[in-house]
Chain length 275, copies 2
């Protein structure tokens, strides 16, 4: 999906919501697990969540850890989930939240996995190993790298804020350097919603880039703050993710309706905030 | 596997070789791919490589990218490979080279995948997201985190060498900080063989830790230099990995014998260097 298509989808749907499909196979509604004819309960759950939330979001982000925890069968479930979105909701932007990154020779294989095998639109990549670990993910037409910059977790303070001799924190060095590798038409950054005013610093170094923003909801980030400091007028420039707050809004029979309700609530807020 | 068991294996076999099972499904010997009854050619290849090299090494390190590039079927092949080593060569230390790392909630799932599902001894972890992305991998008895410190690739210079205001490069900050999270009985570091004399700096901050050393062979690192600056007397403290140099020593019918020959060559050198 191109940048223009993504922006068009956002303004058409008046939403920049990304639903995180972080489905823990050990945490499913009883109505799903007690269905004895169900040979792939995680897929059934995802399918119901997707059907319920698709009107309110523009992107889905399965985190690969949740699927890998079930071994190869989980990876098959992931592939079925991606295929289901692709076929039934072709205007959704699909992000493999993988946080991959390895030497060039090996990152090429991860890129093959994400873009050629799974067929997602974007993959999250960890920057620690530098240029040749990131660039193999670039150069696929209409595909995106989403590079970790300033993450939403407590541990983000351990290394990402370390300042170099000129006072530049690591996450800014990551953005500055990576701008030499890819354009805002093919590279986004992960910036946690929990980072509040840091979005001003981010926008100083990445004025045009889309930001993938986790941390709204269960992790406590504020949507208003993110938009105030992070939104780009007329282009949005944000994909705000919520995972647990939506998919686990209820674990009762109404789990899908509850997910839709939470997604719609966020989408309504986004509609008002969209400039 | 405990640290003592690993060290015992190294001195018994007079080798600290780790064979990297980076099997590219698109690069297999003809004798494997033309076997029409073969429904899992990568596994057949791995099996032959493992049987041929096991006498000369103490560890195997499949890199997950190569298996994921084939989707869920590749992950099934990976699981079969790990199971094969576990059953037939129980004294081998198995490393899932995954370079994972995510927020705590998610890293826990990656740990579940590596240690509970695949049953490997160790997993490589990327440090960018800090403490809560790493610690969920710790606390499994006899299991290890191998944290990226100073990698073997060109891109390692982009961020890992950035010095903070006190002149400490990032990779040293990573080691210093992570020593608060885990002991040398459960945490190793990745240090590329291509980094030569930097091993002196590493040993200053991590005098007791095992180092997983890629980059000998195809990437050009020197085994002698690594041992001169990195070895710990009486404990070795090194696992030196070779992937392509061994598994792709030949693509002809003699591929397994060629792999054994290369592994033996390295193992013979290691025997002489082992103090």
């Amino acid at each position: 999906m191109t940048r223009k298509e993504l922006i068009d989808n956002i303004y058409r749907k008046r939403s920049f919501l990304c639903v995180g499909l972080d489905t823990d196979p050990k945490k499913l509604p009883e109505v799903i697990t007690t269905n004895v004819t169900n040979d792939d309960p995680v897929f059934s759950f995802n399918k119901a969540i997707i059907d319920a939330t698709a009107p309110y979001c523009v992107a889905y982000k399965p985190n690969l850890a949740f699927y890998e925890s079930m071994g190869w069968k989980g990876v098959r479930t992931l592939e079925r989930t991606i295929e289901y979105i692709r076929v039934n909701y072709p205007d959704q932007f699909i992000i493999a939240d993988a946080k991959r990154g390895d030497i060039g020779n090996t990152s090429r294989l991860y890129a093959r996995s994400a873009f050629e095998h799974m067929g997602v639109d974007a993959v999250t990549v960890a920057p620690y190993m530098g240029e040749d670990s990131v660039t193999p993910f670039l150069g696929y037409e209409g595909k995106w790298v989403i590079l970790l910059a300033l993450t939403s977790n407590k541990g983000s303070h351990d290394f990402q804020l370390i300042e170099n001799k000129e006072g530049t924190p690591l996450f800014e060095s990551v953005i500055e350097k990576s701008k030499e590798w890819g354009t805002p038409d093919e590279m986004m950054y992960v910036v946690g919603a929990t980072q509040g005013r840091m979005f001003e610093d981010i926008r100083r170094v990445a004025p045009e880039s889309f930001l993938l923003v986790p941390g709204v909801g269960a992790q406590g980030g504020s949507l208003e703050e993110v938009c105030k400091y992070g939104m780009i007028d007329g282009q949005c420039g944000l994909l705000v993710n919520s995972s647990r707050g939506i998919i686990y809004a209820s674990l009762n029979e109404d789990f899908a309706e509850a997910a839709a309700r939470e997604a719609r609530k966020l989408s309504d807020q986004m509609s008002k905030l969209l400039k």
